[in-house]
Symmetry: C2
């Protein structure tokens, strides 16, 4: 068995040269699509189209086989009919290609002949040094160096660069399927591992633990190939950065469904639950949590404690936040006497936590200044470790005011916080969210996830304090 | 104690004449704002501004007191300083005004003197026939007749008319604070009950049970004033239409927070949980579920059983749907032999449930036709009671195609279904969702809620079959 330290994954994420196997039909072929994506995205390495039916594509020479390429090739991306794939991979291995992403499907995911074809790929990896991601995957997206193996169209350059690595066992959460520009998730790397005939979650955990661009890892997985290696790798990563795991196929029926599309085996979900907890990783339970909770780690410092301040324009929203905070392991902060004095001077209605800004704001001529003052006083309280804030965005509190307010606040205080916006316009909510995250304040489209994210941050912060 | 059959709430939702008490300052005063909203929204009854400092506003005569209005008044809306409110309500009661919405805050929500002021209001309701909603509320929104008591600006006429009544104990979920136009929730009526000094959840349940425009009731409440009356009213409503209850203040800290903004008392959450279940109502647990789950009832027929078909473009999404389906009480349908034969002829990869459309669509020249054929075959299977469908929207599957496909499908088969869209553009996802709901197919912004909604529908359908 080859080393599993993940160091050999660089050829997938940062290849110097890529050979693309697939249809080069103008505008239609997936090989053509991938080459176009690679060029548009700004990849600066060498690209070699490989297809015996073409001599040229997009101004580049096409090669009949990989052997005809004189220079070394780091990565092969294969999008050809399944029956042709083992020979292509064998030839790549012989040439010394370091890594291959097999986009083609109908291998173990289809069962029968497909499973046999996949076994031939496994055999190649055992008697050569080539590493394989897939088959049945769209592979790699690396925001840092502008490289992708996804053959489908999308404005890959519009993804916000940042600290979150998203890994999954499905392609539906990669950039060709998700509103990454609109949501502005701050991405370092993405990877769909597909059928995991070779590279699996353990390799990724090891690679991403060492990746300087990745601050937090969100991993969707339907099964684990080797429980002990997984736990070792997860522990190693968690010692350096937070790990969030979305593990569906919780139910028996879900596990059967997983087996039918990836060839995975079912394991009692409680075993996963215990294992994940033991490593210090945090389990998330929905796609929304998979996408949104990592943002708090990408943008915010760790927390020095679990005492949360809840500031809201709405008493009703404050109650909801309080419930979710308690259920997420947060303690409702008791403000210091000095803070209570300052708040009482502003309004007798501001004594509690959660703070309901609604009544005092409706009684003042300058609600925006009062709001900022209250948030500032509370964030400065030494008895407050973190905060979740509910804000209105709209004509009475425009985006520019909100962004400027946080710009001022962030210059004076650095404590973890999350924000949930409400208002009558989705477009405004989405725009203020993007701008605020540009300042490093994570925002949420639903209140419960905003609070849960803070709970996850506090839990990981406590875990880190315990082991340091 | 007055009758609690809810029949006397008509004056709140369908007044023939309204007196507005509040500041009439041009463009700034909340009384002015409310009158403008009422006029803009298309209310056809009479409006009487009441304010001794004005003789005219917006082309209407203003009255110094309610006694000066010669004609009868059905509803008073009061937005004046708290200390002035009891006298105004007393005068309204003497004139025979049937109902009053008190928007003003700082009553029991503020404690102290405010609680005493609120008691004076309660006293008035016990020795007169006037009914009160509030204080500390924005009151009423009635999409059917174009009437609202909300004084804040918003395009009230842009709310989609439909079958959902949303009731809450907070104003933050009313139209002045939520993207109702963008989300196109189909609304019959909305009501924020505020401090509930008189009208409470029991009155609303009784009124909405009889309301022909309301097909489903979603109710947010932090406390229940009278458990036995509540259960009786909930049972009566549930016998006619579904009831979804979002009951925060689950935690002790949450209940304390609730007490501080509405003057409510805490009760062990398990008591609520059991009581809600016993009435046949369905408890929801987040704002998102409060908003989104009712749509399935507003748009879809009840289900004849719990066997769900899961159709998806993504194996990974199919697994997630399977988990949530099982956890929501759905059974994963086993297709009939005839269905399996038809599907096998289209592709050997289509045998299972969930169906992963991904592989077969990638192998055909006409994926859109194949997708429609598969959905149609599955929906026609007598062993399938309902379906949840995951679809891509974007350049390869434009909105017009999706809407036309469902238009054709709905002409041939009527089974409950929910749809979750994914794609690279939020704007496209939002637009196709609005258009598809225009055809009566509920759509969801996250997959888990799409499946949970179907689970809620199936549960209520079973409840109805059991008692009929």
């Amino acid at each position: 068995m080859k080393s599993r330290d993940g160091s050999d994954l660089w050829a997938f994420f940062e290849p110097r040269s890529v050979a693309v196997f697939g249809s080069l039909k103008d505008g239609m072929g997936l090989g053509y699509g991938l080459i176009k994506n690679i060029l548009d995205f700004g990849f600066t390495g060498k690209v070699y189209p490989v297809n015996p039916s073409y001599s040229e594509v997009l101004g580049m020479k096409a090669y009949p086989t990989v052997n005809q390429i004189a220079d070394p090739v780091d990565l092969a991306v294969v999008i050809t009919p399944p029956s042709t794939v083992p020979t292509i991979i064998e030839e790549c291995a012989q040439k010394g290609v370091k890594a291959a992403v097999i986009v083609s499907e109908n291998f173990a995911d289809a069962g029968g002949d497909g499973a046999e074809l996949q076994q031939r790929l496994v055999d190649i990896t055992t008697h050569s040094s080539i590493r394989i991601i897939g088959p049945n995957t769209v592979g790699i997206f690396n925001a840092a160096n502008g490289f992708t193996t996804i053959p489908y169209p999308f404005g890959y350059d519009k993804v916000r660069k940042g600290g979150i690595a998203y890994c999954s066992q499905t392609g539906v959460v990669l950039p060709q399927c998700q509103p990454l520009e609109d949501r502005a998730y701050p991405v370092s790397k993405m990877c769909d591992v597909g059928n995991k005939c070779d590279v699996n979650e353990v390799d990724l955990l090891n690679y991403l633990a060492d990746d300087p661009e990745t601050k937090v890892v969100a991993m969707h997985l339907e099964d684990v190939k080797d429980g002990r290696s997984f736990m070792d790798a997860a522990r190693r990563l968690v010692a350096r950065k937070p790990l969030l795991i979305f593990k569906p196929a919780r139910s028996e029926a879900g596990a059967r469904a997983s087996a039918s599309h990836t060839g995975s085996l079912a394991v009692n979900d409680r075993i996963y639950d215990t294992a994940i907890r033991q490593t210090g990783a945090i389990r998330v339970n929905t796609w929304q949590e998979y996408w949104d909770i990592p943002k708090v780690f990408a943008y915010q410092p760790l927390s020095t404690g679990n005492r949360v301040a809840i500031i809201s324009h709405s008493g009703g929203a404050g109650v909801v936040a309080t419930d979710v905070a308690v259920e997420s392991g947060l303690a409702i902060a008791r403000y210091s006497d000095a803070t209570l004095d300052k708040l009482a001077k502003l309004s007798p209605r501001l004594a509690g936590n959660p703070i309901d800004l609604g009544p005092p704001l409706s009684l003042t001529d300058d609600p925006l200044s009062l709001q900022e003052e209250v948030i500032s006083i509370v964030l400065h309280d030494a008895k407050v470790d973190c905060a979740t804030i509910v804000l209105y965005v709209g004509t009475m509190a425009p985006i520019s005011y909100i962004v400027e307010m946080f710009d001022r606040l962030l210059k004076r205080v650095s404590k973890p916080m999350t924000v949930w916006f409400y208002g009558t316009s989705l477009a405004l909510i989405e725009e203020v969210s993007r701008q605020l995250e540009g300042l490093g304040v994570p925002t949420y489209t639903d209140q419960e996830t905003a609070v849960k994210a803070l709970g996850a941050l506090v839990r990981y912060s406590g875990f880190k304090r315990g082991i340091e």
